[in-house]
Amino acid sequence: MIGYILNFGWLKDLVTKLLLLFGLDMETRLGGSIHFFIFDVIKILILLSLMIFFISYVRSYFPVEKTKRILEKMGGFKSHIMGSLLGTVTPFCSCSSVPLFIGFIEGGIPLGVTFSFLITSPIVNEAAFIILLGAFGVKVAILYALAGVTVGVMGGYFIHILKLERYVEEYVYNVKMGHTAIQEITRKDRIEFAKQNVKETVSKIWLYLLIGIGVGAFIHGWAPEDLLIKYAGPENAFGVFVATIVAIPLYSNAMGTIPIAEALINKGVGIGTALAFMMATTALSFPEMVLLKKVVKVKLIMIFIAIVGTGILVVGYLFNYFL
């Protein structure tokens, strides 16, 4: 019963009945694809709105300033874990990447820990988590979150061990951050913040979502299963590699890629491959690299891509192997 509700079984049946009214049979390619399309669009929009609201509300309790204060006091490997975990709950838009980076470093937070935060944060964003929940269920969603944290912790830790501080732009260490009074946040502020997040996210991704779901619907109805399995199935290690590489220049919001991933997985593409694709799209997005370039030298960005890319590959393979 719970599965029926959470996995939107009720919506599936509703859309099927609706389409039957129009004389569209689910069994035909066209019927199947249209069903997939309508079902996925509605499902994702509902999930998105409800849960982004709820999660944003919770996140309003974790402003960046608080995160910084917590991390400033920690040390050792566990600070990477904390940095990564806080990355999952602290809301911050990528436009604040630069001030946040400088702020953390200036506050004495080690480079590696800062990166643990910066790596995990975009991967484990609430919208991706929610949609994964709806598309693949609780197990995969949680595994995705764990994977995002793992890649962040290990990635940040390696950056720490390799002592890459020398690749940070000098001015970052010379900045003297001022002190501003911490803003008071009322309940009304929190609700407004949550509402804004829903509006922003939906408006940012609706087009990608429709395109992604459109492609997914096409694959659902028409793509030859054999072709896809041969090139990107679980047995094909190359598939994970290709997926990760292709994702880097593609700044498609993770949300848009999920429907594609969903359809592909139903066609036999390994879950690991699809998830690797999703993680790479968010963690290694080109715009993020451009922003980072302002505070670190190119060499560090290269190493960053190598480390995180490898982490994602490993996670992708492991998922294919175990799931």
Binding site: V64, P99, I102, Y171, G178
Partner: protein, 76 residues
């Protein structure tokens, strides 16, 4: 009155700038509205989340784009 929009030029910063201009116009205040995009100056103001709004040297909001009504409130 000197009003500064602190931010590195992302969409939110532009939005805050537009809203501030509007708020100033509605309130009929004689104010200078400028954009501060230098990251060092932004950090010196004590901000880690942009965009930020600073009026006569005092930061009144950061990390969000307040509504025009709210900005008008700050201006008073």
């Amino acid at each position: 009155m000197k009003i500064e929009i602190l931010g590195t030029g992302c969409k939110k910063c532009k939005e805050l700038y537009e809203r501030t201009l509007e708020a100033v116009k509605v309130e009929g205040i004689d104010a200078e509205v400028i954009k501060e995009e230098d990251i060092v100056k932004i950090m010196e103001a004590g901000l880690m989340s942009t965009p930020g709004l600073r009026i006569d040297g005092e930061v009144v909001s950061y990390g969000k784009v307040p509504k025009i009504e709210e900005i008008r409130g700050y201006l008073k």
